[in-house]
């Protein structure tokens, strides 16, 4: 489901609408799931995906192979655009920092049957790896990745030194990388 052929971006750049559709079929679901997890709002997450695909079609040069793998770039772009919206909404509502989104971040062990059926082995492998991180590392990665907090903000929120936040982030990500080295994007 998540594998994107390497040349799909080149085809899209050359105006191949079938390649564009293939990209949507193969990857929009993962992008949407990520955006929805960050934003907690289906319509906003749809808008993020809609905007990214519009940019891809109209300005495919926004991506360049120099920027790494196309699939990774797409997910990072989805994450960053969703975080931008999340921050913008937070500013608009002028509300205090809460853990609502994180608290609602679903426990992967409690998925219902239908969702279990659609989850791939790779995703389960990934979720297991994430769940197996020490809680202090997982928390920091979640705050950084899904809430867009910078390390200084995380340090203040968790009452830790900046150095501790940096080292826990790096250690957590290295552990994930080692656990997931077989997972191909």
């Amino acid at each position: 489901m998540l594998k994107i052929e390497n040349d799909i971006w080149e085809k899209i750049r050359d105006g191949d609408s079938l390649a564009f559709e293939q990209l949507y079929d193969g990857f929009a679901g993962a992008m949407f799931s990520l955006s929805l997890e960050i934003l907690g709002d289906r319509w906003e997450a749809e808008e993020v995906i809609q905007d990214i695909f519009a940019v891809l079609w109209r300005k495919p040069e926004a991506y360049s192979p120099k920027k790494g793998k196309f699939s990774s770039w797409l997910l990072v772009l989805t994450r960053n655009r969703s975080i931008d919206r999340y921050r913008s909404r937070k500013r608009r509502l002028d509300r205090g920092e809460t853990d609502e989104i994180l608290q609602s971040r679903p426990d992967q062990a409690n998925k219902d049957g239908a969702e279990k059926a659609t989850a791939s082995d790779e995703r389960e492998h990934l979720n297991r790896a994430f769940s197996n991180l020490p809680p202090e590392q997982r928390k920091i990665i979640e705050l950084s990745y899904f809430k867009g907090m910078n390390q200084q903000e995380i340090a203040e929120k968790l009452n830790l030194s900046l150095g501790t936040v940096k080292s826990r982030t790096r250690l957590g990500i290295e552990k994930l990388r080692n656990s997931l080295s077989t997972l191909r994007l």
Binding site: F20, A28, D41, W43, K69, S72, W73, N80, Q108, I173
Partner: protein, 409 residues
């Protein structure tokens, strides 16, 4: 090396300070290790992204997205047409840009008490409905129980409009209030009532829930911009300076289904432009109402059930053109032409259509700070035009001075 990896990670997560980001980008051009670190960081982050719980997208999202691949709409013949050429030579920016709020009256000054009550009730029903169709609602996740229960517990919006429009609202009796009532009942409300009826029935899609959410949001803003005492606390927020981008309109109209009472149409959008259209919510509400009026006039007259929307900036300096286009028969176009020129027939069936155009006229008088309609018409600031087999309805809105790039609502 560790510092480089940290920088690559921070850059990927968007938390590297701007000056350091620029340095890092420069480094990427010539440093293999920096590029390798970035690739590694992106892959790490992408993998974390895949831990999100899988959720499926509706079919209509794919349809909307694949519309990107259709050939661009060509508005060049219209932009070269006589009315627009005329507008290019006559348009001049006013000193103080109008930024909305001019069409507002006080609801309690409406003479008809039943009208007052019904407008208040509609507003409160919509306030209650809005969270039930929001992106974080049960309905957005496919559980319609709360939404159905709410819709079954209130009078249907379509019946309410029908009942309120049975007798014309007299301008002599209500003054400017008549315009505010009509703006509240005839711009986004007919489409809203269509989708709420559909969702209250058996055959609906997730796309209908999304559409109803946008319509609720727009309708509430239009009502607040029409009646200053209907929800004063929220109106204070609507009056704050906050740029609204063309992208907001594009997102909402792109691939949408539109309905004006029983007449349905499919919208195709142009690519609009990047940048702000209005400065405050109250201005956006007025602009939005005008767009709905264009759609309501054109949609039922389209020969193929489709109509196109486009926002174009800079084709006329200092102006943003809102254009609606549809293929029409000659007879349907002539009908539009008569409405735009204020030629009223004995038939009452077009009464509401005349009101829709009058709402645009009133708004244009405020936006361009003209005192008479003939001045507006001479300046080609809005109108109806036919090219080949298509009808074009448009209005020009003063652009925001020195507005560059995107904007947020």
């Amino acid at each position: 090396m560790e510092t480089l990896k940290q920088k690559a990670l921070d850059y990927t997560l968007g938390i590297l300070p701007k000056d350091e980001s620029l340095l890092f980008e420069a480094m990427l051009e010539e440093n293999d290790e920096a590029r390798h670190s970035l690739t590694e960081a992106q892959e790490d982050c992408a993998r974390i992204g895949l831990s999100a719980q899988p959720k499926s997208l509706g079919k209509e999202v794919k349809q909307r997205i694949l519309e990107n691949c259709q050939p661009s709409l060509n508005f060049d013949p219209f932009l070269e047409s006589k009315p627009i050429q005329n507008l290019r030579t006559t348009f001049s920016r006013t000193t103080d840009r109008y930024n909305g709020g001019g069409g507002c009256v006080t609801l309690r000054n409406i003479n008809d008490a039943r009208l007052q009550d019904e407008i208040n009730r509609l507003y409160n029903d919509l306030i209650n409905l809005s969270p039930l169709v929001a992106g974080d609602s049960d309905a957005a996740a496919g559980d319609m129980a709360s939404l159905h229960s709410m819709l079954k517990g209130i009078p249907s919006f379509s019946q309410s409009i029908d009942s309120l429009l049975t007798n014309p609202i007299s301008k002599d009796k209500e003054g400017d209030g008549a315009q505010s009532v009509y703006r509240s009942l005839l711009s986004s409300m007919p489409s809203l009532s269509f989708f709420s009826d559909r969702l209250n029935g058996k055959s609906y899609s997730m796309g209908d829930v999304r559409r109803l959410f946008y319509l609720c949001r727009d309708q509430l803003k239009i009502m607040r911009a029409s009646f200053d005492d209907i929800d004063p606390n929220r109106l204070v927020e609507d009056e704050k300076l906050r740029l609204h981008s063309a992208g907001l309109l594009q997102t909402k109209w792109w691939g949408a289904e539109h309905a004006y009472f029983s007449a349905q149409g499919k919208v195709r959008c142009g690519h609009f432009f990047d940048g702000p259209v209005t400065e405050r919510c109250v201005e956006f509400a007025e602009y939005d109402a005008n767009m709905y009026c264009l759609a309501n006039l054109l949609s039922p007259r389209s020969s193929n059930g489709e109509f196109h929307m486009e926002l174009i900036k800079d084709a006329v300096p200092n102006c943003i053109l809102a254009i609606a286009r549809a293929e029409t028969t000659k007879g349907r176009h002539d009908e539009l032409d008569q409405i735009v020129n204020g030629i009223k027939s004995k038939s009452t069936s077009l009464q509401n259509d005349h009101i829709l155009w009058e709402l645009i006229e009133e708004s244009m008088l405020r936006a361009h700070q003209h005192s008479t309609l003939s001045e507006l018409k001479n300046a080609s600031l809005f109108g109806c035009h036919r090219l080949e087999n298509s009808s074009y309805l448009w209005f020009a809105w003063p652009a925001i001075e020195n507005s560059q790039g995107g904007a947020v609502a």
